[in-house]
């Protein structure tokens, strides 16, 4: 690995130019895949043998739950890079991820409740999976609030990043909660690669949705991150040029 090449993107103007180039591609490709996945999931995929059409909420529930955790992982890693390398760009990226991650967590929780009400017979229980995902939402809120309440930029970055880093521990807890404890929530369907528990004609729209959400998310980081970098560097010469 050529570290110098990576360091290059750590400089604000380089990051800004790179992100601006990447952003439209990611946002449009992401939306395109989400559109195809939605059509596939809502109209093409067959009904489930037990849940009928109601199972189709999986096409929104699973990708948003997946993204709520990937976004947090990205925010945590950006926070570590920010603290260890004192990288302003990494802090900006972490900060721009938080609202999107919180949104994904909220969507995962709400679609889960809509799904749980008719199928389980309840919208909410405090089992290990639901509780740990709820804690994830609180972590996002904590990060956003902490950042907003501390006036001095550097202190706010450091404090919020420490919270984000400690919260990383929650990610394996969410993932393995259905394995470690008895939960009302079912076990994972697609992350066990040896024997997928979903047939191919139901699986492909789900995978398209997840990949679409992922690519869209990268576009969101580019957009939010570059805007945040501009804000932070507003007094420097390169910003005046753009």
């Amino acid at each position: 690995m050529n570290l110098k090449k990576i360091y290059k993107y750590g400089s604000p103007p380089n990051f800004y130019r790179f992100a601006m180039k990447l952003e439209p591609w990611c946002l449009s490709l992401g939306l395109f895949l989400i559109a195809i996945g939605s059509i596939g999931g809502l109209f093409v995929a067959p009904k489930d043998y037990q849940m009928g059409d109601a199972f189709r909420i999986i096409y929104f529930h699973v990708p948003s739950a997946y993204l709520s955790m990937s976004a947090y992982a990205a925010m945590g890693i950006a926070s570590i890079i920010g603290i260890v390398w004192r990288s302003n760009v990494a802090f900006a990226v972490a900060k721009s991820i938080a609202p999107f991650g919180a949104l994904m967590t909220a969507v995962a929780l709400i679609t889960g409740m809509l799904w749980g009400k008719p199928m389980w017979g309840t919208a909410w229980v405090w089992d290990a999976r639901l509780t740990s995902e709820f804690i994830l939402l609180l972590l996002y809120f904590g990060y956003i609030t902490l950042h907003a309440t501390i006036k001095e930029q550097k202190k706010a970055d450091r404090a919020a990043s420490l919270l984000a880093i400690l919260g990383i521990i929650n990610l394996p807890i969410i993932h393995y909660s259905v394995v470690w404890w008895n939960t009302l929530h079912q076990a994972s369907t697609i992350s066990k690669l040896d024997s997928p528990s979903i047939v191919g004609e139901m699986l492909w729209p789900l995978l398209l949705m997840i990949i679409g959400y992922m690519i869209f998310f990268i576009g969101v980081i580019c957009r939010g991150g570059s805007a945040e970098v501009l804000m932070r560097e507003k007094r420097s010469n390169w910003v005046k040029e753009v």
Partner: protein, 140 residues
Amino acid sequence: MLPRHKRLLGILVTLIGVTVAITLILSSFQDNLLYYVTPSEAIKKIDDDQSKFRIGGLVEVGSFKRKDGSLQSRFVLTDGIESVEVNYIGILPDLFREGQGIIVTGKFDKMKIFIATEVLAKHDENYMPPDIHALKESTS
């Protein structure tokens, strides 16, 4: 050691420390984190002075009975080893059927029948269209 190596080490040590602490906390609260117990475990608690708790198991095939014109239902919950008779008045979830995983909340009465106040259906992680399900059923 460069300052950034110190900071990286600091983060790693903190993370490991907090992970160990949380692992210890979670493992000591293991029993409370279980959302339900199996019928075998429930049978052992039958004579205890009880507060409400949850049992999770499969509805035994052929055990479901409903009083005509009422919401009162009776069924047997089993884990393949022990079984518990359950009495419930109320609306059952869509996924409730014989052979299905179910979680009931309630307590045992003096006749050792579990009086449920809530019935939840547990869905498994398998998704398939009806024709493939029928195919699987006939081959197994």
